[in-house]
Amino acid sequence: MGQRVAYTLDSTLDSVNKAEETADNLAQKAGFAEDDRHKIAMSVREAAVNAVLHGNSYDPGKKITVEYEMTSEKMSIVITDQGVGINEQTLPDPLAEDNLLKSSGRGIFLIRSFMDEVRIRDLHPGTEITLVKHVSAPETDAQGEMK
């Protein structure tokens, strides 16, 4: 049986911090190691920044929602905004030589680097991004015994 928590938040930097802190706390409770907790929390931060800044443009009339779900197999986070939406196909490659010295455009790339699954959906209007991190199986030795 999974656990689910959801928040509706203003389009502010405080909301970004809250989304990140909540992700870190829940990942810790779910038993993720420190390195994975960092990756989950940072991915949620990046996605929340996109929602607040690029999606809703800090519009006080628009909200973001952040939904966390933990099961024994994975942690899923779904973040939505009410902005104009993004086109994944037009996102520049931050590793391309011409883009290396650009000051922005790395958020989605980092999320994809850190999470096991990332899905972006255009809500017309708004964007929904789903982040998934799988719970790693415990390490076992050659005989299959848990370490």
């Binding site: 930097l13 970004v16 960092h38 940072m42 931060r45 990046e46 920044v49 800044l53 931050p94 590793l95 290396l100 010295l101 650009k102 000051s103 922005s104 790395r106 958020g107 790339f109 980092l110 680097s113």
Partner: protein
């Protein structure tokens, strides 16, 4: 924890000791203002000590890149010192480790400015 910066001069190099988080908002602004202030005083050799920087997000990475290009534009040089593993890994996966001159020894870093 917000970003704090303190400055010292070592053999003509401005060493900026940073501590805290470089993230969208206050942290990025502190870094930007600090670099701008150093450049405005005519100091163009900058060593950014990130040993106590616990966290950088994509906005913070962007601010580091902006600092690097701003210093280079003025004919100066910016090097990074004492990266934590998290920051090191971030620069690796964003390919910026090849852009920045990264050192883990202050004396070596200072002498590298003279070369």
């Amino acid at each position: 924890m917000s970003l704090k910066a303190s400055s010292r001069q070592v053999n003509g190099v401005t060493v900026l000791d940073m501590s805290g988080r470089v993230t969208l908002g206050e942290g990025s602004v502190v870094l930007r203002d600090t670099i701008r202030d150093v450049l405005s005083k005519g100091n163009k050799k900058i060593l950014l000590n990130l040993g106590d920087v616990t966290y950088i997000d994509s906005s913070g990475i962007g601010e580091l890149v902006s600092a690097f290009t701003a210093v280079r534009k003025e004919g100066g040089d910016l090097k990074l010192l004492n990266l934590t593993k998290k920051v090191h890994d971030l620069l690796q996966i964003t390919k910026l480790y090849t852009v920045f001159d990264v050192k883990d020894d202050e004396a070596v870093a200072i002498s590298a400015f003279g070369k």
